[in-house]
Amino acid sequence: MTERRLFSPLGWTLFAIIVVLGLTMPLLHVWVPEGHTLHVSAYMLTLVGKILCYAAVALAMDLVWGYAGILSLGHGLFFALGGYAFGMYLMREIGREGQYQSDLPDFMVFLDWKELPWYWVGTEHFLWALFLVVAVPGIVAFVFGWFAFRSRIKGVYFSIITQALTFAAMLLFFRNDTGFGGNNGFTDFKRILGFPIAAPETRAVLFALTVVYVAGILVFCRWLTQSKFGRVLAAIRDAESRTMFVGYDPLPYKLGVWTLSAVLCGIAGALYVPQVGIINPSEMSPANSIEIAIWAAIGGRGTLIGPLIGAGVVNGAKSWFTVSFPDLWLYVLGALFVVATLYLPRGIVGLVRRRG
């Protein structure tokens, strides 16, 4: 009873099946010839890969919203920061194959810059880029969280400030002078670690890495939320003041989970950019971050698995609607959200659990 398991045997079985299926997709892309019924197209692989990255973001969102009661409406920022950090590396990998055949990324040549700004130094190194992917969202989240939590900013005030934060960052990144390609962002990538970025094998590896990443952080988050740390988070969420009188300082708990969540988003962003082939400031738009919260709400927050499902369902529906009925999508999203809040307080997962 008190001995906690990460997942039930059934849960582990389902988990294994889904991971194996996920890892089969890239194999079908590479090894099954085009035209064969079992072939997975590049379009499909990219679409699912992208959704998996979103799923990781939804999971990170659940960690702070579902378990710590902190509703972030700025998680798109951390995702984008991770994406930009890795995008810098991809831009440098283009080498002299850009339009201007310069060592500098094209947009810098266009701006008539003669040398790299200091923050681009070292970005040609893959490992340094990986470090930035973790460090940049992590540090931004830590500093912001430290001030916000220390001044006990909570609830809707906190959410609004996170919206403002991502909006401000978007405006900053829109500017050409900021040195991140302005409103075009980064695109036209050529290689990653020397391999052609759009080659089937490269796509397959990136996809497989994404599957492993999502599976890995699911297990990790499950472990975290079932630890005593997770129970203290739940206590802070439900009665913060009480938790302090019991002797827990909420600051390191909130700050810890908040920073972790941002880092998880950043890594998801870094996996997203090479698969989708573009990153631009629109990823930081306030609406994007709100959508992340909607995925979690529709899937069922505080369940970890729910937000994964929510991200899948909503984005699956989105890619269908934006092709078939592009004008309707926002209404559908709004309706989904209203229905979920009114009738499915525990989201899709709650619905299944109630039936089951």
Partner: protein, 287 residues
């Protein structure tokens, strides 16, 4: 927003240890470092409030309040609604900073310089007027969180209960008669059971001083009697400060009673003295 949160806005720098005029105190003993469990009670008093004043927008919830509680004592505090009883507990536990006055824990610990968490670690535990337990956690987990142990975040990541700690929780569960309900969510308990769980959390926390704000509200007569028995058994080992409106309950447990009125001590003494005090009869008992 629940009752215990409404005072938050009066603390400007909540997590900081607030340096105040006491920094410059000439008496060397004021400079002593706070060591949990090391409370200097050589002079008998464990809690000492002097001239404490708290105002909310000009209204004085506490007005020149003086109170001294001895180590191991069971002190009852009574008084009409709005007398400042809860506010007094807010001041002792660091939730509200007094506008004036001093609050000492033992001879050396100036509570006005500590935040809520530090005060809890120093050894003061509290039960709120409105019972507040962690509703989504099980009864057992509520006690687990309260249990005296290292409460820093990174320690919590790998914390596992040892046999001794489990036994302690089981013992508390038996004391508060919630062994059966141990693994159900605390949110499903009855009002009286929540009161008990909160008392149980205090027992698990094992503080030197227990502040109990209306602990028997919503309890049946039977439960009230059992609570009285429990408090009497804790007396001596712990210091208890009990705020209650239930006069029968007070009668059963009281040794010394303090009557608060308009943020000030109106009378103090044993039950008989207080009950026959004309001022007390006028403002409180005779209503």
């Amino acid at each position: 927003m629940s009752d215990y949160e409404y005072g938050n806005r009066c603390i400007p720098h909540p997590y900081a240890l607030v340096g105040t005029q006491a920094d410059s105190a000439s008496d060397a003993s004021y400079g002593r470092v706070v060591v949990p469990g090391e409370v200097d009670v050589t002079h008998g008093a464990i809690l000492y409030l002097e001239s404490v004043t708290v105002s909310f927008d000009g209204f004085k919830a506490l007005n020149d309040l003086n109170l001294s509680v001895d180590d191991g004592e069971l002190r009852c505090i009574i008084g009409p609604n709005g007398a400042g009883k809860t506010t007094m507990m807010d001041v002792i536990t660091g939730k509200t900073r007094p506008d004036a006055g001093t609050v000492y824990f033992g001879q050396t610990i100036d509570l006005t310089r500590l935040n809520e968490v530090a005060i809890a670690h120093a050894g003061i535990g509290r039960k709120f007027q409105k019972p507040t337990v962690f509703e989504n956690l099980s009864v057992f987990e509520n006690l687990e969180l309260a249990l005296k142990m290292d409460k820093r975040a990174w320690k919590s990541l790998f914390a596992k209960l040892n046999g001794e700690q489990r036994d302690r929780i089981d013992e508390v569960l038996a004391t508060i008669k919630l062994s059966e309900a141990a693994h159900g969510p605390a949110g499903r308990l009855s009002h009286g059971q929540k009161q008990w769980l909160e008392i149980g959390m205090l027992l698990a926390q094992s503080p030197r001083v227990l502040l109990l704000d209306e602990p028997v509200a919503g309890m049946t007569d039977q439960e009230t009697a059992e609570t009285a028995e429990l408090f009497l058994s804790l007396k001596g080992k712990h210091t208890l400060i009990v705020v209650e409106h239930d006069m029968d309950f007070i009668n059963t447990i009281a040794h010394t009673v303090t009557v608060l009125h308009e943020g000030h001590v109106l009378a103090e003494g044993d039950m008989a003295t207080v009950q026959n005090d004309p001022k007390v009869i006028e403002v409180y008992l005779g209503r």
